[in-house]
Amino acid sequence: MASGYPERRSPSGRFLPPDPRTAEPHRFTPQLALRVGMLAGLALVVFAVLFLRLWALQVLSGDRYLLAAQDNQLRTVRVEAPRGSIVDRAGRTVVSNVPGTAVKIWTADLPKEGRYAMLQRLSKVLRVPLPRLTKALEERKGDPLTPILVKTAVHEDQVATLLEHRAQFPGVEIVGTYLRDYEYKALGAQVLGYVGEISPEELERLEKDGYRGGEKIGKTGVEAAFDGYLRGTPGLAQLRVDSLGRPQGAFEERRPAQPGNSVRLTIDVGLQRAAERALRHGIEIARGHEAWNANGGAIVALDPRNGAVLALASNPTYKPSVYVGRVDPKKLEPLTVEKVAKERNYPGINRAIAGVYPPGSVFKPLTALAAISDGLLSPFEYIQCTPFAEYGLDNHRFDNWNPFTNMPMTLTTALSQSCDTYFYDIGNRYYERGEREREYWTAMQEWARKFGFGQAAGLDIGGELPGLLPTPEWRKQTYRGIDRAWNPGDLIQLAIGQKDMTVTPLQMTRFYAALANGGHLVTPYLVSAIERPGSEGEPAVPLRTFAPPPPKPVAVDPQALSVVREGLYQATHDRDGTSSGVFGSFPVPVAGKTGTAEKVVNLPGYPAGHMEDQAWWCGWGPFDGAEYVKDGGGRRAPLVVCAVIENGGHGGVAAAPAALKVFEHWFGEQAGVQGEVLSD
């Protein structure tokens, strides 16, 4: 750039230094006027645009933007409704809520920059693994308006830290919440179920019913089946916040949360506890009698008149509280990680309804009922009870559990002493008759079906397994080649509840309830009513009661029933009864049957196909199926009980004493000194 004036020729030729101002006086030329005019025009256009836009925004649409500005500060949040409690039949609280603190993240409010650093800080404060945070964030990417639950049951110190450094945690919200509180710890864990955050799959299914992401939902058991009653209705509240999401003032309630209703169970807490204790007792006895692999079991106790479940125990068990609050993944492993779960023998499974076992001898009463009703057996007919019997074209040998017996028996004795060959003979009669008369081909199974086997019992919390009722049709569909054939052995073994048949403890209890109540099939149920909790000492108000369907009479020969019942009474009271040693001295007349069912089990350290005895005992008391009137007054409902000890060995050894404990608790009576137990 030149600092002086450029050399150029002056028109006048004078020797003055060239100076544009003198040489060419600056004039306001028309050319410049035009250009300034254009700039003025530009300025007018610019200001016209600005004025018009300002007018449009402020005057024409001002109201709309005012609303938008007001909305800006209001955040609508769903207020968690306190979940309803679960009470036992007497109204004792089993599951309730305690207030807790939860930390949530509003994804929309997370800082754009430094988001990762903030999550790191948060993970450090809350001791939640960072990958879990980032994963949750990733999963909720498409939904910025639902807060992500980071942690419930946040410790006070952590809350204080978060509040102190609030500015460092934009988008992090601390809210009050309710935590499930289990009054009796692990009691009834599988029945009650647990509560967790709603999963994407559940949300998809339930969004139309008002469920929203981030909410809690019952996952299993009563919590899941009756979630609709327990959850209540979330309220709506609005909160004024600034641009960083910092609350300005308090929550303003727009719609109050409706607390969930409580659920009244048919379960009796005391009996449930007794049953769980009895189960542990049974397992211990089994182990003490060389059944070292005894590692679980189930006990069902119900009222045979209506199917009300009074106790439903399953072992091993867990504490539902592991799902509450500071969820420790380590503690959840027995429930979620297959390998650990297997080691602990699956504590999450409710064996009473979802454990299937071969019934063994506890099935014999059904065989007898069927055979008498079908005219295949006379109750007073003698059949020789031998150490073994041979059937079929190949003279296949079927052993009696008792190799020392050899005497003729009637049905009552056969039931009392649980003679296998007696029932083999019935099974063979069914086979032979079925070959002659096709309508009898599956007659025994049809009786079993009438008494509820091979199908879910219809318990109101669901989750039941149907078990297996083997039929020729089933065998044909399941197997290939020579195994498809339905052989005499299938029915001979079915007659003593062996080979392919499996049942759940609940199904078996239902069958014994029918024996107790004179041949009526009940529908077991766990929840008797939905109640609105009474405030401050007032009684709860029932909103809805669940009446189970009336017991369905099964068209069984009444004489057959009475003989079978007699046989089962002898089994607990006769000198040679299989559980007389356990029940003989019990003041309440109890009738019942032992069972020792062989089952192929997969135990670590044993070869494939290893068999273990599953110990059973099923029965009821008082014998007449009516209420028990105690000496000192007071009445107790009749009770039917089934106990299974997994790999527990002989039913009379392990299962019967467990069942006795349940009766003792229920009737408040003690059995005398336990006699020598005759095995089955």
Binding site: M1, P6, P20, R35, L39, A43, F47, F51, W55, Q58
Partner: protein, 390 residues
Amino acid sequence: MIEAASPRPVAREHDLVGFLGRLDWVLLAAVGALVAYGLWAVAGITRYDVEGDQLYYVVRQAIAAGLGFAGFLVALAIDPDRYRRLQLPIYALTILLMLLVFPLASETRGSRRWIEVGSFQFQPSEFGKVLFVLALAGFLADRARRLGEGRVVLQALGLALIPIVLVFKQPDLGTALAYVAALGACLFVAGIRWSHLGALVAASALAIASVVWFLPAAGVEVLEPYQVDRLNFTNLESDPAGTGYNQTQSITAVGSGGLDGRGVDAATQTRLDYLPEHHTDFVFAALAEQRGFFGAALLLGLYLLVVWRGLRVITVSRDAFGTILAGGIVVAFLFQVFVNVGMTMGVAPVTGIPLPFVTVGGSSMVVNLVAIGLLQAIHARGHTGRRGAR
């Protein structure tokens, strides 16, 4: 300051009253009103920004205005022709200032714009704006008669591009564009050929198109992605929480002001920080929210007055230098007002351009007052000045 060659042998420095009489008092009044109105507006806008000190920003802004007034007086006293003669050092100073930013300025939100001197921050690109126009006007004025030649136009472009690119690299896209606007205005007012103007417009259109669309499509990123997003201001609805967030909140703030404003306490967009940068880049939106259409229109009216009087200064200048200088200053001023106000209302892209006399910031305040001083200096020594105040 007496110039021997001046056709007007008046000893201006000794005739203070006469000199004052030759000032553009309408312009002066408009600017005075702007500064005062701006201070009052900032008082409301920043009342809740600094806890315990409601006047924190106002006091700083008033000090800047005082400094600016001193600058104004100095600019007024100096004959503009001096700048023409000093154009080379001025140009060198411009480049130096632009370069200083790179080693000295600390990065704020990804951009180096401010240099800290003691407890003060100053923004070289603001000062550079005036220096740039001074140097450019000097260069063009010296070649007033050869402006028809394409070579001279290209030389001017080449000289101007260096500071423009330096500002762009800070990066400060908005101010770089203000430089471009000033450059265009200088060339336009200096009187280059229409055909050259047309070619320049076409070339810059092509340049913008390639920077924004063609080059990114070919994989060359000249602008940062955020800058491209901001330039695409027309589809901000697509991502209200992202790039468009600031502008959406700004439009909401402006609109919610209504006819007469929400007042200081009830202006939640500003008070609760929904409106970002509400005392700097988005100060107009805050003003519009608090003072409504009346308050915002008053401000725009004052700007229009300044622009009108500024354009008038172009026409009364005694020499080409003053004409070009005034043209550059006025258009740069108009550009800043339009882009800043327009951006708060969604009619211009979001760039970090301060709003003259209102945005809190010392550099901007001082420079703008100095620029007004330059306009007044030209006016006082111009044609009307000689004939006395009109």
